[in-house]
Symmetry: C2
């Protein structure tokens, strides 16, 4: 079922008239007809099943009837940010698409010491806009409730001190010792979630935050890791194998989802 | 550090002479020189750090000295197989590369009811060989101890009854109920691992097995799910978002690694 983000909050059982880009996309491109089912997500990040009840080509508009009950939430209960050392070529697109499917809230690309690729200042706006489009498509496809924000940072800015700041560092992997830092970080997030009054009552921006930094191809330089560690960022390993720069964020987000959305078995 | 698979078991502190494809790759392509460090993995799936001690271009051979102690194991302690509904275009390559990094043992592509792509019988050998090459490169890059096996099945053959057989089914996701089946499957694997005499003593083929089936674009048809369920295959959800056909196996393998290689904290 096609999902459509609309820029207003949605009320149960409401009738809406949609125009502009929504008309263009749903009626002209997808060619949906009266009676077709849609999923609408409002600016308050609540989704509803909807049915097309009328189409008015003269005014480039169409009407929908929302269901009486909201659809289940699909957002990660924490705000997850990935900060990726700028990789080569098409990898930015792969990271944005897959991280969006896996529930990321914010994706930041930042040139790091071993980044081969650099973006010229005049390229940044266009490249970020293109990646933002990819995030929007992937958010629709995966039935998200928000579109992740894509950003470019010319240097690694200071990170907010509220929330968990982590860095993926493969030297932790190479020495062959088991590393519990990732499991400990997820355990901290679980405890923060349990301490919230009630998940639905917490605005998304007030949910527990986790940020994870990933090196580009070739990894982070030891001096970068030392600098991050000095700033209080925790080094974590992501299992015993060496992951490519575009695979590591997907491992992180998948295991985050598993740890806080799927695994609730007593041990 | 470059990893090289060799087709013989390796002894600690041994000196080896390598020829053929190994010479071609390490000396002619990578242009490594005397004193350069390598990682060698033997046919017994044990890896050693090694140093190039001599190069003999006249005989197209080079010599290496192995370290006295083996490197840490990097293999998943279970045998994980993914069975993927044949997807479109380049997605087979992405799945093979990423699943290899994430520790898969066996990758099977199989046309399913909603597969748009079909391979003609005369294409199969060439396509599988190409994907096997991608698996070999990714296994080297991610410092695996074995190269996953890539296969094509024209139809979904009966699955072995030993081990866990799972199918990813997004209807489980869409109804919004929390689904514990994945966590329960991983808990079963953990218990099987705890029951083994000692991990290092267990040949890879005797390790606990888990197989997971994924639909192509558009998902599995309900009749396919019903047939699999009738054959005793367990339906599992992979978190609350809809994942693309190539993303679902990566979620599965990442969370498997997290659950049995990383997370050992008491809860």
């Amino acid at each position: 079922m096609q999902l459509l983000f609309v820029e207003r909050p949605l009320m149960p059982a409401a009738q809406l008239v949609l125009t502009g880009a929504a008309y263009q996309h749903v009626i002209c491109v997808l060619r949906l007809e009266i009676g077709a089912a849609l999923e609408l997500v409002g600016s308050d990040q609540v989704g509803f099943a909807a049915t097309i009840t009328a189409i008015d080509p003269a005014n480039s508009s169409f009407s929908v009837q929302l269901a009486a009950v909201a659809l289940p939430n699909t957002e990660l209960p924490v705000q997850a940010t990935i900060i990726c050392g700028l990789p080569k070529g098409e990898k930015t697109k792969l990271i944005v698409q897959k991280a969006t499917e896996l529930g990321v809230a914010r994706i930041i690309f930042c040139p790091m010491q071993r980044s081969i690729m650099r973006w010229r200042p005049e390229q940044v706006t266009k490249k970020v806009a293109h990646l933002q489009q990819i995030a929007a498509s992937a958010a629709e496809q995966s039935h998200r409730r928000l579109i992740p924000q894509v950003e470019y940072w010319p240097t690694l800015a200071p990170l907010p001190s509220v929330g968990l700041n982590l860095v993926a560092y493969e030297e932790v992997v190479k020495n062959g010792q088991q590393d519990l830092a990732l499991a400990q970080a997820f355990q901290t997030l679980r405890q923060q979630l349990l301490a919230l009054p009630h998940e639905a009552a917490v605005p998304p921006t007030d949910r527990p935050a986790v940020r994870m930094i990933f090196g580009p191809e070739g990894g982070l330089a030891p001096v970068e890791v030392a600098d991050l560690t000095a700033r209080g960022v925790q080094s974590v390993g992501l299992g015993p194998r060496i992951l490519r720069t575009e695979t590591a964020p997907l491992y992180f987000l998948s295991s985050l989802s598993y740890a806080i959305e799927v695994e609730t078995l007593p041990r």
